[in-house]
Symmetry: C2
Subunit: 248 residues, 2 copies
DNA sequence: GAGTGGTCTAGACCACTGA
DNA sequence: CAGTGGTCTAGACCACTCA
């Protein structure tokens, strides 16, 4: 049978029909974890298509973690292990503006120097490396939105030394300068210390959400940032990864 | 040219070689966002393989968000938008045991009844639906680890009504009972109220990390849970999605 | 040894869209 | 309207692993 595109039916790609069929069996619980999925040959016959089309459908389910493939053993429904979710951490400026508020930022302090032990550790750079340390407050309308404390490795981004961040906040500047990074995040709750309370205009020891991020580029540590959001105001939303469209 | 598997070279699949090549161009910054990637035909010629092999390589990069494909326009390097990370939220029992500590849990309260307005809203069920409300403390050795407040929709999981959770905590019980869900998470910082402070043995108004999760199965809301972790003790770790192995 | 998935080919037709 | 990606086929060979 030669290839010929959908005739009637409102043209969902063949592999997606197959994928949806399998997914519904799994998510509805008809196929419990450990259940053997029909072999690719069987599915190809059942859906009257080439095996590769089936393979593409199943491959996508593997990436989502819904099934596990093993040679000879076949494809089986995976056990849901940890709750794995996709968390989107947006650019602060975009985040504020998306909520319809006016964005601005203040540079509180700016220092170029050699990394102290603590700074070197946070940044993952050698003691005494040249660093730029910045403290910055982000505002939404007239309300403090977040406190940013950032270290930039000047070995990795020498241009930053002469950048004063008058127009563009450090995060956006770096994003444009150094696109495509790897990063690790740590998320936890902290109590506002005196400085944080003052600049964010909240009471001392108020709960805050803290996001720490270390960013690498090509295995070189580029920047470390600690963002503190006034508690209960800022909510991170994550959706379960396994369902719906894949990445974005 | 007929297909014949790797001869010399230690056999990385063809499509992965291509993918790695493209990825390194992007992550190293050689190809800035907006740069046009060679067409699939060109790449197929360049790597001496079929176009479908190239397509598979690129398809994977699309899922990771590194490139965007458009007909006629071709494939271009994507702009890194939000920092999208994968967050793993583990089963509490597994989490505690993984850290080498003894896990146990206490059921603080258990009530079967009709959903109040607040409960119905949290659960996303109709007012007056039958619900099971549970409060539960998780321990690591002799230290309180987290406070769990959970609502279970008895329309979706009627077996829960007679389950006393003597052996297995509600989360694990549900996971085994209702495999494969969809879920939404909300993460934020809160201040410990009187009850939370008492059961977690922390001072009042201490900062805590709060994770709310609403779980669906087949579009039916199954359970709502609110987990409160003593602040600064519990850290969520997330890694940037775009690099390295895909899902897990 | 036989059956499974893993990968690949050399075509093909189609749909979209930018020049 | 021409070039791009999107999808698909009907094979093929290979590697693994379980019976």
């Amino acid at each position: 049978m030669k290839y010929s595109k959908k005739t009637i039916s409102e043209s969902l790609p063949r592999y997606q029909e197959i994928q949806n069929h399998l997914k519904s069996q799994i998510l509805s619980g008809t196929w419990a974890p450990g259940t053997k999925v029909p072999s690719e040959h069987e599915l190809a016959a059942q859906f009257d298509c080439a095996r590769m089309t089936v393979s593409k459908a199943i491959g996508s389910l593997v990436e989502k973690g819904l099934v596990v493939r093993r040679r000879r053993a076949g494809t089986i429904v995976a056990a849901p292990r940890s709750q794995e979710t996709v968390l989107e951490i947006h650019d602060i400026q975009a985040e504020v503006q998306a909520s319809g508020r006016l964005y601005r930022f203040d540079i509180q302090s700016r220092r170029v120097g050699k990394a102290t032990r603590e700074e070197a550790e946070k940044l993952g750079a050698a003691l005494g490396s040249p660093v730029l340390a910045i403290s910055c407050v982000h505002w939404a309308d007239t309300v403090p939105y977040a406190l940013e404390e950032r270290l930039i490795n000047l070995d990795a981004v020498p241009e930053a030394e002469s950048e004063m961040f008058r127009e563009v906040p450090p995060g956006s500047w770096l994003l444009a300068k150094i696109p495509w990074n790897e990063a690790e995040h740590r998320i936890f709750a902290v109590s506002a210390d005196a400085v944080t309370a003052r600049v964010l205009k909240i009471r001392r020891s108020a709960p805050c959400l803290c996001i720490e991020r270390r960013t690498r580029r090509d295995s070189h540590n580029v920047t470390y940032v600690r963002l503190i959001y006034p508690g209960e105001q800022h909510v991170l939303v994550a959706r379960f990864q396994t369902h719906g469209a894949t990445a974005r």
